[in-house]
């Protein structure tokens, strides 16, 4: 039987993998961008990123000092008997010391820092119940530089598809050099204000080389990505060919009188990792097999 300690240990390992090594899809797209860049200044920025990716893996060190706040997505088996929440919280505490992670979580008003990344509603956990016999835990370690550029628009239905495009393009222009481009963009369309934002973040969980299964949405993903990469903001906003590495959209049906659109901005370091914990306590990390 899986114990709380199993969960805790798996979460420490999960966080270590997440902050040290990028998922294959993100790393590949960065290497491609580096190969494609011809101007000296952006090429140097991408070289630093590529070198840093290699150095982080070699030294088993977090690639970025901003190891983010820890956002979890958990799918439980139907008959789960273990306190997964406690395992995650203690795992975050332990990982903060051992990996180490930067203690980022503070009280929103007093700004007091408890030093262990644990506080009211943090780590934040999204729960689902699935039909598999294993516990699946995915973590996103989301830095503030990019998260601070995220936005919500409550459009009117008459603004439609054009309104969605205007909003995304406008947000990218306003974000400019700030979110550590080349970025990855998650767009959530529909639902309600909170659902659109939630979908925008969840969109970042899908590998960026996979298009949406709905061909119309897939087309919009490609169109927006290509248009954004025409802007020339470039790596770190210093100009260049690649402003955005990938753009994923998720949608939900919404009220006939609403059109909420959420945008979640992710820096080049699109860190996410998944662990599956089987009933016998064995772990597998499908995002970090290579």
């Amino acid at each position: 039987m899986v114990t709380e300690t199993d969960i805790q240990n798996a979460v420490v390992e999960l966080l270590r993998k997440a902050v040290v090594k990028l998922p294959a899809d993100v790393e590949e797209s960065i290497r491609k961008a580096y190969a494609a860049e011809t101007d000296e200044v952006p090429k140097m920025q991408l070289k630093a990123i590529v070198d840093n990716i290699d150095m982080a893996i070699k030294g088993n060190t977090p690639m970025c000092q901003d190891t983010g706040v820890t956002i979890f997505y958990v799918t439980l088996p139907k008959d789960c008997r273990v306190n997964v929440e406690k395992g995650i919280v203690e795992g975050v505490r332990k990982a903060t010391k051992e990996v180490p992670l930067r203690p980022n979580a503070v009280h929103p008003i007093t700004r007091k820092n408890p030093g262990d990344n644990v506080g009211e509603r943090m780590p934040y956990i999204n729960w689902k119940v699935g039909d598999k016999d294993y516990i699946e835990i995915t973590v996103m370690t989301k830095g503030a530089g990019s998260e601070n550029m995220s936005q919500l628009a409550m459009l009117t239905p008459s603004q439609g598809l054009k309104g969605i495009k205007e909003f995304v393009l406008g947000a990218v222009l306003r974000a400019g050099s700030n979110p550590c481009p080349p970025t990855i963009l998650g767009v959530g369309i529909g639902g309600s204000s909170d659902i659109a934002m939630k979908l925008a973040k969840e969109a970042l969980l899908r590998p960026i080389n996979q298009r949406h299964k709905d061909p119309e949405i897939a087309k919009l993903e490609t169109e927006l990505l290509e248009a954004i990469n025409m802007l020339g903001i470039g790596p770190m906003g210093l100009g260049g060919k690649t402003t955005c590495l990938g753009l994923n959209i998720e949608y939900a049906y919404c009220h006939t009188a609403s059109l909420p659109v959420g945008l979640n901005v992710q820096c080049w370091a699109g860190r996410r990792a998944t662990v599956r914990i089987s009933p016998d306590g064995k772990t597998a990390y499908p995002t970090h097999e290579r």
Binding site: M44, N52, M55, D66, A227, G232, M236, G237, L238, C267
Partner: protein, 202 residues
């Protein structure tokens, strides 16, 4: 043969700073202070109250960075130390430059026009270092001399780093009113029309 990039020693003189050219790559050696939101707020507050700040900022290199540090025995070690988003300090930096006269601000993403103006007036440059490349940046620091204002939390404290080969740093705002970011923005504005056409927007 690529030519060797320039290496400068801190504290920087006004001559050092004014001689730097936009787009040039340099490396730093000597003391580098970290300081972000809270350090700016605190330092300006101290000044207002007539209290002395714990480090000498004149001619210094101030790095917008909240590092990951690890204490090994009695000594601090840098684990990861990339830049944070400099634009968060836009509202405080012009005053900070005027009052404390740092020689270089190091960060990512650039800063707004009032800071560009203050840099020109008082002799300071903005050095861009690649965001997220925190292991590469940390490698430029050979040791840590100490920490001040640790009570502000690990990311917000002043860490006193000893650099031996800190970089590569790109001169992105010089001490003569020029900014690479402003130049890119002008181009982006031109490109925006093409992107809009592609999306079928007016």
């Amino acid at each position: 043969m690529t030519k060797m990039p320039k290496k400068l020693k801190t504290p920087l003189s006004e001559n050092d700073v004014r001689a730097l050219k936009l787009g040039e790559t340099i490396y730093l050696e000597g003391v580098v202070f970290t300081g972000r939101d809270e350090v700016h707020l605190h330092a300006l507050e101290y000044l207002e109250k007539g209290k002395k700040v714990p480090v000498e900022f004149k001619g210094s290199a101030l790095f917008h960075c909240g590092p990951i540090m690890r204490k090994v025995g009695e000594k601090w070690e840098v684990v990861a130390a990339g830049p944070t988003t400099s634009s968060r300090m836009n509202s405080l930096e012009p005053q900070f430059i005027e009052k404390f006269r740092p020689g270089a601000i190091i960060g990512k993403g650039g800063m707004s026009q009032p800071t560009v103006d203050a840099m020109k007036k008082y002799g300071c440059v903005y050095l861009a270092i690649t965001g997220g490349a925190a292991v590469l940046a940390a490698k430029g620091f050979k040791s840590v001399s100490g920490v001040e204002w640790y009570e502000l939390g690990m990311p917000e404290a002043i860490w006193i780093m000893n650099a031996d080969n800190f970089g590569p740093l790109t001169v992105a705002i010089d001490a003569h009113g020029n900014s690479l970011f402003a130049a890119v923005n002008t181009k982006v504005k031109e490109n925006e029309q093409k992107a809009r056409e592609k999306l079928g927007l007016k």
